[in-house]
């Protein structure tokens, strides 16, 4: 009996998931990108502890990330948040059959660069945590691309 029921349950679940609108799927994926992006943002701020009077410099002791690395990460995060904002606007305006938002490939490139910087940090537990968060972001961006790709 169980052998019969399991495929039935899986089939019903698959049909139900297929019933979700593409916009809903893209929204869910976008939210996962945003939360991963915010997690990277918050964690890097914690590693750096930017000086209030000069936010491009770090005050954390011991030094977990150099000022230059903090500035590089910040440049990429600025571009990533700008791309994320444009992606959000695209989701609001998105209609079935519309093309994949052009910001997705750029977001993928940005998070890949972010991963390279994270990998170049001195090997500390904080750096390892940052790498983990950046990789979660890379994965979330790939999922979002797939969500939009499936809409075509």
């Amino acid at each position: 009996m169980k052998k019969i029921l399991i495929p039935i349950v899986l089939a019903i679940a698959a049909v139900s998931c297929a019933g979700l609108s593409v916009k809903q799927k893209a929204h869910n994926a976008h939210m996962s990108v945003r939360s991963a992006l915010v997690a990277v943002d918050e964690f890097e701020r914690g590693m750096c502890q930017p000086a209030p009077a000069a936010v491009n410099t770090c005050t954390a002791k011991p030094v977990l990330i150099t000022d230059q690395q903090h500035q590089q990460v910040s440049r990429l995060l600025r571009e990533a948040f700008e791309a994320d904002a444009r992606l959000g606007a695209a989701i609001i305006a998105w209609k079935p059959g519309a093309p994949v938002p052009t910001d997705l490939p750029s977001l993928e490139q940005l998070v890949t660069q972010l991963e390279q910087i994270a990998l170049a940090l001195s090997p500390t537990s904080a750096a390892a945590e940052l790498i983990t968060r950046v990789r979660a972001l890379v994965s979330a961006v790939a999922t979002t691309s797939a969500a939009f790709g499936g809409a075509r």
């Binding site: 679940a13 139900s16 939210m31 915010v38 910040s74 600025r78 948040f81 700008e82 904002a85």
Partner: protein, 80 residues
């Protein structure tokens, strides 16, 4: 019907009960997930966009080379 057949049917229903409960729970959860309207999605996304724009501005100040010595105050508009 023999006792053995009756017992077999009882066993089948006993096995099906938890599966049925899981099925109902799953379908209910999916139905709730599907309940989010486009308008709700747009509202949530608008708030997310505003937050991303704010974070982008903050990261812009953090991304300048050290020689620029930025502060956490917003830069003055050159057109002003």
């Amino acid at each position: 019907m023999s006792v053995q057949k009756t017992q077999a049917w009882i066993n089948l229903f006993a096995a099906a009960l938890p599966m049925g409960a899981a099925l109902i729970a799953g379908v209910t959860a999916l139905a709730k997930q599907e309940g989010v309207s486009d308008e709700e999605i747009n509202d949530i996304t608008r708030r997310a966009v505003a937050d991303s724009e704010q974070r982008a501005r903050e990261r812009d100040a953090m991304s300048r080379p050290s020689a620029d010595a930025p502060t956490d105050h917003p830069p003055s508009d050159p057109e002003e």
